[in-house]
Symmetry: D2
Subunit: 343 residues, 4 copies
């Protein structure tokens, strides 16, 4: 099973939706192979029993989560466990010689105070928090290359940051008057059945949730702050749920610091993303269906009555999770960034 | 709130989907009023908190299930509690002077042995079981009129019986070679969240379940048996789940005892249902959308290669549950059968 | 068929989705009856052939659109024809002695210049344009009472105005910094099949359309202008499409003129809508499913980082079209406003 | 762009849903490359404009359909044009030295009389009709290897044949008493917008269509006939539409010639498909979601009251169209059959 030319991947927490998505993409990745799947469930299940769609493509029993056991068996861990647990496992995985792409929020917020405020617990791994690199390759490619620990971004923040950062960086907009109105497919809510996601409740309805209270609001702000001089950004974030499986569309309302044309906005995006394989700048408004099951982010901009409106669409499971993790992995291991992610 | 010209209805087990549907219909019924809602939940919730869509139309706190307490406060009970519990409550409700429309399966199968076999428990109210009337008004209108206890039929059996009984009765088909292939919306699975009905699991998929093992299989047979001379019917029943809220379509394959034309089949249906307000005989195949939120059953027949194919569509929540209950109530209390159910 | 105590309704343009919805509600309205259905189709179809779900509830052949022919046969016309055609028919209907509820946009914008700019044609009935009353009963009840011609509002503007006007009226917000981010079910796009609404294209996707260009943007502004002193409002409007049949949720971002608490905002809504039967003020964010097939508008407010966020949900086919038309009709004819619309 | 180790594929009729699916799979196929896309549209569109989801993965302008022009530029043509047109193009493509996988029905029915009866036109290419091989590799692998022209099977017939043929072959069932009750996602209806597939009409409904009249009924029979001794098979086929994008589930009712156990049925399937990479025999009923976007066919069998019920699920766009075409191509060109189709 070992193939020395391949990156060996251990997926820790293999029964989540994001893990399934990672498995799917890794199965067709020409330079990676899955060498371990781990689960806290007892007894450990076979992955193809958890996800019957994977049968015939992978046949592997999950093993307990025992970081030292991966030493020499994996080059990178995809850490797909809940917030809080990740920061107790990451140091052990790093100690075992693995590089880590963490799907949780544990290493995304550089300020321990932010983490404590929004996640209701003290951060227990400040050392790695400081060294962790926020994993949007379009912005942090160089740092990701050598990072031991990459904080794989949240789905909403990915869609928002890709739509806002270029304009903040160009000094075009007021970073304190940012509204991100997003809508997501239901896979983003995870695999745990809940009354509000019971099919007859979630089908044929549209609603906002955690208005102004979602943890991704501060994460979006932190993606902007590095580009803001002298003060912090302020973002209002309203997530909504769409009765569909996957996809996020963020409709972003920005206030230019001085009047701006849509051509100029388009130019800024065009220059920023000229060589980015996963950013598609579009004339017409993006559709989540067009990015579904791809690692693309589709972006369109408009100027309406003096405000810039940026529309940014991703698949929350791909560019918003597993695809971006693989993109990060490709960068970390010196592969072409698109390996296994196009076609 | 009391209005002596109105039928007073108590809904026992008010937090089920079928109860919500009954409430909706009763709110617009000109000759009925809801006088009590009961729930086993503690503390008893307000119904408009359970079902926020009902706010502004009804404001009522549920009360504990205490049958003697309804004496003089209700004329009829809609019994919407689980199988097994219903047969312990029905006798008490009858004793308190109420007539009962039971939504559970407890009084549908006349043979205690059938009940024991399919519901894994002994029947504990044989007396009322014998007196109970199976509540398809199209077939048992006269008995329902004076019944103290009506067993409101299952959703699948309603769609199947309405499509098969006329042909069995006419001696047209072999009652031992009946295949009922049905597909239902997900509301039929109830309000309890389950992993298999979690939105991302249930959306965009189609599947059969309990193939040849569903309890409604025997109930369908028992709707046919009275019209079969000398032997019992034999039905193969395969239910499927459709990613939609409501509706059942039964595609029924029947073997004529001798060659028959589609005209003759249509004629039998035409005669049987000539004066039925809720049966719509159609030329084109029925669509569940056309019966959604109505008490109609749409029926179309075809003859293909010597077999009769009957297509029968209902709304599982209406003609398959709450609407039929109200239709039964109308019959029981001498109202026009369509009162509150048309328009 | 005539019943002198009933309002006689003619539906002009009977084959639209909004007409079907009007028919459904009128069929259960205790004080109204449909006396004519009209269509431009030739030959005129039976309505139950166009909408098979209506079979068994109404049986009526459409007739050609001939306004003088309704004289004495109808008290009110629901005018459900395209923009532009409505303003040629309304004067004739008024001349024939009918009062008119116009579902089109022809009489919604008081300024002919607005109409010309946004609808690309000159307004040809300026006299009635001036007299027409904009039909949101919550704001214009008194004028509607005696109006000969009511301009039934657009679906998006209804959801937006009900969420914004109370705050503008109270002087709480800056009417020139209003963002309305809305999402609608697909029935709002009408019954005409289009490539972008073909099921496989529209299913499982979410997207914005006509960003900053939708005609309802100006209509929303015009609902606010009467309450703004000295200047006009300025609204940015972004509609989205949700893969569901019906429902609109508007997420509205408003800038207070001075710091405001969510309690104060709630108080303003509470006072404004204290006696409104169709406005439900909620603590939790509204869900379109909760207003589906009802005439309710559910409203929730939040204050986030100094901005007011108002969430407003309606059924685009009911409070956003046919239900509001009937509510207007009830007001026009002196009935209790909720007649036929509750329960 | 040329790569001598790769199979060069021309897709004729590139704007169909099946073509898009073929493009998606070919883009990730390590041993194939698309060298031409053709369309009858004028002017010829760029494929990424027709299917914006493909942007960033392929950039190619369609060219007119000119078979001689593909000589030396393609090794195989995927012929995705309407029935009737295919039989005029296939001979030209063969003459130009290409092998052909035809997605239409033109070469599926060996008897010209069948074609004429069901497709309402005379077959005009009898020579190739005789030589064409029906492309279910699980049954006709050897012939496909050397075939110049492969008739890629219909979606329903694929799901049905894979579920029935092993039992016919084993002499287990009566080939004249076969009922195939199938349900399909809406992509099977093609890309042309039609009133009945307009989102608000197709959403939230389930219905049968072309009951006993669908052209795939005879195609299913012809997949069985070769294994029936002395007489022809007789199949009743009822297709249904499910409000989802993709997937077919066939629920197949078969009559054993003598009593049979479910174990024996499972054994027959187990032996037949022991080495088949794309057939997954399951204990639990198959779900279309589990085969979606895969080339798998999931099969489960039951015996109920003496009848065998086979449940067979595929993705109509993959194993039912483009995936099977690529599987056929792999066989035709001596590749491992799973190349580009797993993972």
């Amino acid at each position: 099973m070992n193939d020395s030319s391949k990156i060996r991947v251990a997926i820790i927490g293999a029964t989540a939706y994001t893990s399934r998505e990672a498995i799917r993409w890794l199965l067709r990745h020409p330079r990676a192979q899955i060498t371990a799947l781990c689960s806290r469930r007892e007894p450990q299940p076979r992955i193809e029993e958890i996800f019957p769609d994977l049968a015939g493509q992978i046949s592997m029993r999950c093993e307990p989560i025992d970081p030292p056991a991966f030493k020499g068996r994996a080059d990178v861990a995809f850490l797909c466990v809940p917030n809080g647990l990740a920061m107790s496992l990451a140091p052990q995985l790093l100690a075992a010689g693995l590089r880590v792409v963490d799907f949780s929020a544990d290493y995304r917020l550089k300020e321990p105070a932010d983490y404590e405020q929004w996640y209701d617990k003290k951060h227990t791994d400040l050392e790695n928090l400081e060294r962790a690199v926020y994993g949007i390759p379009e912005f942090y490619r160089e740092k990701i290359r050598t990072a031991a620990l990459v904080a794989n971004p949240g789905c909403y923040p990915t869609s928002a940051a890709l739509g806002i950062v270029p304009l903040v960086k160009a000094g075009l907009i007021d970073p304190q008057d940012v509204i991100v109105d997003s809508a997501s497919g239901v896979s983003g809510a995870g695999r745990e059945p809940k009354p509000e996601h019971h099919f007859p409740e979630r089908n044929e309805t549209f609603e906002a949730y955690k208005v102004g209270e979602h943890r991704h609001m501060v994460e979006i702000e932190r993606t902007l702050d590095p580009y803001v001089r002298g003060r912090k950004s302020s973002v209002i974030f309203t997530p909504h749920l769409v009765p569909m499986e996957r996809g996020i569309l963020s409709t972003i309302y920005l206030k230019p610091v001085q009047p701006v044309s849509v051509q100029h906005v388009a130019e800024v995006f065009g220059k920023t993303y000229a060589n980015e394989p996963f950013i598609r700048l579009r004339q017409t408004p993006p559709r989540t269906a067009d990015v579904a099951r791809t690692n693309f982010c589709d972006i369109t901009a408009r100027v309406v009555k003096g405000r810039i409106i940026v529309l940014s669409a991703i698949d929350n499971m791909v560019k918003g999770a597993a695809g971006q993790a693989i993109q990060n992995m490709n960068v970390m291991f010196g592969l072409d960034e698109t390996t296994g992610l196009l076609g």
